[in-house]
C-alpha cells in the first residue's frame, strides 16, 4: 500500500506464538511493524498482550514461529539498545529519586542528543518532584517517572504495556504527544491499552489478540 510496506520492516512476526506448559497463550500472530508506525495491541484481560510484549522485548523465549528484526532473525546483540520496554512493573528503584533513576537508565542505555534529566522530568510533569524518592510519589507520578525514560533514552522501538493506566487526562495527552513525535522522527511503537487512544497522527495499526 504505502512505501513503508515495501521497505524492510523493523519488526516482523510470522506465526509467532508462546506456550506455557505446552498450551498456547495466544493464537499464532503475524504482523509487520515499519519505522514510523504505531501498533495498538488489543485484547481482553488475560488475552496475552503483556506476554507478547515481553516476548518481543526478548524477555521470554519464542516458543514457535519466527521474529525478524530489520529482516534478520531477532537476536539479542542485534537489537540491543534499540528497544525500550515499559511493563506493568515500572523498573524504578523506590529509594531513588526520579532524577537518579533516569541517570542510571542513561548510564546503561546512553542518552538522546540534547536531552537532559531535568528538562525531561519537567516535560513529563514531574517538576518539583525530581529529588523526591519514588516511594513517596503517587501512582500516576510513578508512571510518569517511568515514562520519562522514553524521552531520555535513544531507541527505535518502544514497547509500552498500558502506558495510560493511572495517568490523568493531561498525562494521557502527553503520552499521545510522545508517541506522535516518536513516530514522526522514524521510531515505531507497540502499545497495549484498554482505553481509547486518541492518536492524532492517523489511525494506528491494530493487532488483535484472539484467545
Amino acid at each position: 500500500m504505502t512505501a513503508a510496506d515495501t521497505a524492510l520492516p523493523l519488526l516482523e512476526a510470522r506465526a509467532l506464538s508462546f506456550f506455557r506448559q505446552d498450551e498456547p497463550v495466544f493464537a499464532p500472530l503475524d504482523f509487520r511493524l515499519h519505522a514510523g508506525e504505531l501498533a495498538l495491541v488489543e485484547g481482553d484481560n488475560g488475552s496475552g498482550k503483556t506476554t507478547l510484549l515481553r516476548m518481543l522485548a526478548g524477555l521470554l523465549h519464542i516458543s514457535a514461529g519466527e521474529l525478524h528484526w530489520r529482516g534478520e532473525p531477532m537476536q539479542r546483540d542485534r537489537c540491543a539498545g534499540e528497544i525500550l520496554f515499559l511493563g506493568h512493573q515500572l523498573g524504578l528503584k523506590a529509594d531513588l529519586s526520579p532524577r537518579e533513576n533516569l541517570r542510571i537508565a542513561a548510564g546503561l542505555h546512553g542518552m538522546r542528543e540534547g536531552a537532559g534529566a531535568a528538562s525531561v522530568l519537567a516535560r513529563i510533569g514531574l517538576r518539583g518532584y525530581e529529588d523526591e524518592p519514588v516511594r513517596r510519589l503517587s501512582a500516576g507520578q510513578k508512571k510518569r517517572a517511568a515514562l520519562a525514560r522514553l524521552l531520555l533514552l535513544p531507541a527505535s522501538l518502544w514497547l509500552l504495556d498500558e502506558p495510560y493506566a493511572n495517568l490523568d487526562r493531561i498525562g494521557i495527552a502527553l503520552v499521545n504527544d510522545l508517541l506522535e513525535s516518536h513516530t514522526d522522527t522514524g521510531g515505531a511503537a507497540m502499545v497495549t491499552s484498554h482505553g481509547t487512544v486518541s492518536f492524532h497522527g492517523g489511525e494506528p495499526r491494530r493487532i488483535r489478540m484472539h484467545d
Binding site: 539498545g81 534499540e82 537518579e100 537508565a105 546503561l108
Partner: protein, 228 residues
C-alpha cells in the same frame, strides 16, 4: 545515538548499587549487627571462660562472618526482580555478565567489607591472640568474595522461583564448606604457629577462577531464570 562506553556503564551500575545500599544503610548494617550479636551471645551461652573462647574464637568469627553474608545474599536480586529493574538491566545494550560483576562487587563492598572491618573487633571480643588476626583478615578477604561470587550464581538460578531462601542455603552449603575448611585451616595453623600459606593459596586460586567464571555463569543463570 551515543551508546555509553563500557567503563561509564560499569560506573553507573556500581554507583547505582552503592547509592541504594547507602539509602538503605539500615539493611547493610544488619549483617554487621548480626555478627556482633552472635559474638556477644557466645560468651553468654558458653560461660566466660577465656581459654575456651580463645580456642574457638577463630572458627566462630569465620563462621559468623560467612553466615552473616549468607543472610544478605538472598536479597541480592530480589528487589530488582520485584520492581522490574532487572528486566531493564537485561535489556540494556551492555554485556550482562560485566554488569552483574559490578552488582556483585557492590554487594561485596556493602556487606562483606563492613564485616571484615569489624572482624578484628569480634576476634578481640573472643580473645583471639593478636598475631592471628592478620591471617584471619587475609582468609576473610579471600573467602568472602568467593562466597559472594558463587552465591550470586546460585541466587541468579533461584531468581525465577518464588525466591526460596531454603534452596539457596541448600545449594550454598556444599560451596561454603570448602571455603570454611581452608580459611579455618589457615587460622588454626597460624594460631598454632604452623605455616598457613597453603590453604590461603588454595583460596586465592579458587577466587581467581571464580572472578572469571562466576559473572558469566551468573548471566547465563539469570537469563534462564527470568524466562518465565
Amino acid at each position: 545515538m551515543n551508546r555509553p562506553s563500557l567503563a561509564s556503564a560499569c560506573a553507573a551500575m556500581l554507583r547505582r548499587d552503592l547509592t541504594l545500599a547507602w539509602r538503605r544503610r539500615g539493611d547493610i548494617a544488619m549483617p554487621v549487627l548480626y555478627a556482633l550479636i552472635v559474638t556477644m551471645l557466645f560468651p553468654f551461652a558458653l560461660g566466660p571462660e577465656d581459654t575456651l573462647l580463645q580456642r574457638i574464637a577463630g572458627g566462630v568469627v569465620l563462621v559468623t562472618v560467612l553466615l552473616a553474608m549468607l543472610l544478605a545474599l538472598d536479597a541480592m536480586f530480589a528487589s530488582d526482580i520485584e520492581d522490574g529493574s532487572l528486566e531493564q538491566l537485561v535489556l540494556a545494550p551492555q554485556p550482562l555478565a560485566l554488569m552483574l560483576g559490578m552488582k556483585i562487587l557492590a554487594h561485596w563492598l556493602a556487606t562483606a567489607l563492613p564485616l571484615i572491618v569489624i572482624a578484628p573487633l569480634m576476634a578481640a571480643m573472643l580473645h583471639l591472640p593478636g598475631v592471628v588476626i592478620p591471617v584471619l583478615l587475609l582468609a576473610l578477604v579471600l573467602a568472602t568474595p568467593l562466597l559472594s561470587l558463587l552465591g550470586a550464581v546460585l541466587v541468579a538460578l533461584t531468581a525465577g522461583t518464588r525466591r526460596s531462601g531454603m534452596l539457596l542455603a541448600l545449594m550454598l552449603l556444599p560451596l561454603c564448606v570448602p571455603a570454611v575448611i581452608f580459611a579455618a585451616g589457615a587460622v588454626a595453623a597460624a594460631q598454632q604457629g604452623l605455616p598457613w600459606l597453603a590453604p590461603v593459596a588454595w583460596l586465592a586460586a579458587a577466587l581467581v577462577l571464580a572472578v572469571v567464571l562466576a559473572p558469566l555463569a551468573c548471566a547465563a543463570a539469570l537469563r534462564i531464570a527470568l524466562d518465565a
